[in-house]
């Protein structure tokens, strides 16, 4: 019997579900004499079944366990690892389960995530790692590399969708004694975690992509600007860089050529606007991260005034595959306008949350229902938010929209970096718009008046509406102000900040109107518009809510059902949060 390899998913999602304790439990089994190889790995994308553990013997057979807890480890080792008897009821795949989640996906960016141990350079090399950069250095000219990327049709995955090959060509054409590569790992969209998963699950592929870009444009120095909230990703990157240096894959005279390349990691300091390329450069230079006017573009004048090529993490992670398989193979996936695959971070009210990578051209409905299993508790699908604070909400009625830059733009949303937050009938669209606007308003750097003050005024109006103080003319003002902010802002932050409001106004105007005219929140979210009552059957008279009520609006005696006096109630919702019996009803 071959020795088995046990891999525990230890990306941030795995760790937060308790992955480290599971890993320790396996370690203990090892110490007690069990015979197997223990490894850690990144995220396969099934965040909804964490902690995930895969067990394989050699290459052919692999079983995946979901929701593993430390106390399940003993039995898994005893039965499966030692005696070749997989425990059927705990498996998520290998026994034909949940194939739906994987069989419609195409894994290019995520090819190694959850498959190899990201802390092992060896495993990356064994899976074909650094072969692409070797080929590029030994067999290709920079022009040929750029040509191949152009053939692939790859567009920047950071949100803007600018053709990558074109950007490289422009940076190559800039004449200078020094050029830089920057990897944008700021991942600012607060509902997206694709880049984090790639950095944690396959850091070498990003480094390799950056090297190929460096070779193509003639740069020998690079920075990765990584979000401060991603300590694990930063640690994995630093480790990967030092491994590559030790092996001579980074440094001087790579593969015996005259090509030199070095990469440094810079940690961000918590500012969304620093994802914007000119602000990011200012931040690396040690200044306040304020965007500046373009042109000159970074391709002409970037870091320290030198030509700089900035790409997103996912963009770089595609590159080695494109070189090894050819641009045409990549372009074979997708639509006329949008080639290849795209990774999405699925969150919100969807059954299977996690990461999926799909070919461009798949419909939104297919992703939500076929891959992600539909809506939690089989509630009604209402909308999906794409593009984060710069994007918009696509209503369920447009669920057949294809994943394609042009098609999605038509709906008023954007492809964005890949966050998809799914919403059901219990999500209030006015509240969602307010959420995003509050985010961009706080993150506005303050340079442009319309972005700084206009977003503030829009937010005040939305706050009024959700408190039941909305006026009839508010919707017109929102529309107007939104359009003005879009045209009068310098960078993408302000130019797109009104989008979440404008797109919900377009598709869910009736919901805004219900807040303003009927003073009702149809989704029962905006608490000032709700009526709280107590279910007389469920209430056990525990006295928690009368004690917590700040206005003494709840009456009742111990062990007798309580009651809320509506004229005293200020809809603060405190009774709802203290009740242990689910007896407080919001309507």
């Amino acid at each position: 019997m071959a020795i088995k390899t046990v891999m525990v998913g230890l990306a941030t999602c795995g760790i937060s579900a308790g992955g480290e304790k599971v890993y320790e439990a396996f370690q203990k089994e090892l110490q007690e004499g069990a015979d197997f190889v223990l490894r850690e790995t990144g995220c396969v994308g099934m965040c909804y079944r964490e902690v995930l553990v895969s067990i394989s013997n050699g290459a052919q057979e692999s079983y995946l366990y979901g929701e593993v807890t430390p106390d399940r480890v003993k039995r898994i080792v005893a039965e499966h690892v030692q005696n070749d008897k997989p425990i059927d009821e705990w498996l998520v795949s290998g026994a034909d389960r949940e194939v739906g989640f994987f069989d419609k996906q195409v894994r290019i960016v995520l090819r190694n995530c959850g498959v190899i141990d990201p802390s092992s350079l060896q495993e990356y090399l064994q899976s074909g790692g650094y072969k692409a950069v070797e080929r590029v250095i030994k067999e290709m000219t920079p022009e040929q590399v750029i040509k191949e990327v152009q053939i692939s049709g790859l567009r920047g995955r950071g949100g803007g969708g600018f053709p990558t090959g074109k950007k490289w060509e422009l940076t190559r054409a800039s004449v200078s004694d020094k050029k830089y590569i920057i990897c944008n790992a700021d991942e600012g969209d607060p509902g997206a975690f694709m880049d984090r998963s790639v950095l944690e699950g396959d850091p070498h592929s990003v480094l390799e992509g950056m090297m190929i870009a460096g070779f193509a444009i003639g740069a020998d120095e690079a920075y990765i600007y990584c979000r401060a909230e991603y300590p694990k990703a930063v640690a994995r990157l630093r480790l990967a860089i030092s491994q590559a240096k030790k092996q001579g894959l980074l440094g001087d005279n790579i593969f015996g050529s005259s090509f030199n390349f070095n990469i440094k990691v810079k940690e961000g300091a918590g500012a969304f606007v620093c994802g914007e390329e000119t602000a990011l450069i200012a931040s690396i230079e040690g200044r306040r991260g304020m965007p500046r006017f373009r042109p000159p573009f970074p391709a002409q004048q970037g870091l320290w005034g030198k030509p700089t090529n900035i790409n997103n993490v996912e963009t770089f992670a595609n590159i080695p595959w494109i070189i090894l398989n050819g641009g045409a193979a990549y372009a074979a996936y997708g639509t006329d306008d949008s080639k290849g695959t795209k990774v999405f971070a699925m969150a919100g009210k969807v059954k299977r949350t996690g990461l999926v990578e799909v070919p461009m051209g798949m419909s939104i409905n297919d992703i939500i229902f076929k891959i992600c299993g539909g809506i939690v508790n089989d509630k009604k699908f209402k909308a999906v938010q794409m593009g984060g604070p710069s994007g918009g909400c696509i209503p369920a009625s447009l669920g057949e929209t294809l994943i394609d830059y042009q098609q999605i733009n038509k709906t008023g949303a954007i492809m964005g970096s890949g966050g998809m937050v799914v919403m059901d009938e219990t999500t209030c669209m006015v509240d969602v718009a307010k959420f995003f606007l509050a985010f961009t308003q706080a993150e506005s750097c303050g340079k442009c008046t319309f972005c700084r003050i206009g977003t503030k005024r829009m937010l005040e109006i939305l706050e009024r509406i959700t408190e039941g103080k909305g006026k009839e003319e508010d919707l017109v003002t929102l529309d107007k102000l939104g359009e003005q902010i879009k045209i009068a802002s310098l960078c993408g932050l302000g130019q797109t900040a009104p989008n979440p409001v404008l797109s919900t106004l377009r598709y869910f105007r009736d919901e805004y109107e219900a807040h303003i005219r009927q003073k009702k929140c149809p989704a029962h979210v905006c608490s000032p518009l709700l009526t709280y009552t107590i279910d007389q059957e469920k209430c056990n008279g525990c006295m928690l809510c009368p004690r917590s009520c700040p206005t003494d609006a709840i009456i009742g005696e111990k062990k007798l059902p309580h009651k809320i006096l509506q004229d005293l109630c200020i809809q603060c919702g405190k009774c709802f949060t203290v009740c242990n019996q689910d007896a407080v009803i919001k309507d």
């Binding site: 509902g191 690396i284 991260g289 919100g348 959420f435």
Partner: protein, 157 residues
């Protein structure tokens, strides 16, 4: 006096060497905050002294970035995720519960200095929403009841 001595310890030598001169300001501030939990006036003076960047400019950088604090936090920092997924999954009720139990709002510290509550943009565990993080440990799929229990457990520790 004691704190002054402590703060004078050059906390940043490694990073200084690592990054040469240009662009070292933010890593220096990060390392000051890592060491002391916040960026004190003393640290700003010190960094100004080594880099030659005027204190006013350093202060401008400190206040621009959300990561930097100019006041110390409580012993235990409860980071409440306010990302999109957590928002949609009702993190507001979790925050209300925390406020109720601890008597503090976002960006505040309890009088005894034990707890601080801060809001963060996204912890990246969207599939476990709503989520809070206490000293690098994540607590997911919270309900008001679970949150109350969590706070009481933390108080006892």
């Amino acid at each position: 006096m004691e704190t002054n001595e402590k703060e004078f310890k050059p906390f940043n030598v490694d990073i200084w060497k690592y990054d040469g001169h240009a662009g070292a300001l933010i890593p220096l501030l990060q390392s000051a905050q890592d060491t002391y939990g916040y960026v004190s006036e003393r640290a700003i003076d010190y960094i100004s002294h080594v880099t030659g960047v005027p204190p006013a400019e350093i202060y401008g950088v400190v206040t621009f970035y959300a990561q930097f604090r100019t006041k110390p936090l409580g012993e235990k920092v409860i980071k409440v995720c306010n990302g999109t997924a957590c928002h949609v999954n009702g993190v507001k009720e979790i925050a209300n519960t925390l406020t109720d139990e601890l008597g503090i709002n976002y960006e505040e510290t309890t009088e005894d200095g034990k707890f601080s509550m801060v809001s963060v943009a996204c912890l990246g565990c969207c599939s476990l929403a709503p989520v809070v993080m206490v000293s690098n440990e994540t607590f997911g799929r919270l309900t008001p009841q679970k949150t109350r229990k969590l706070v009481r457990d933390l108080k006892r520790k």
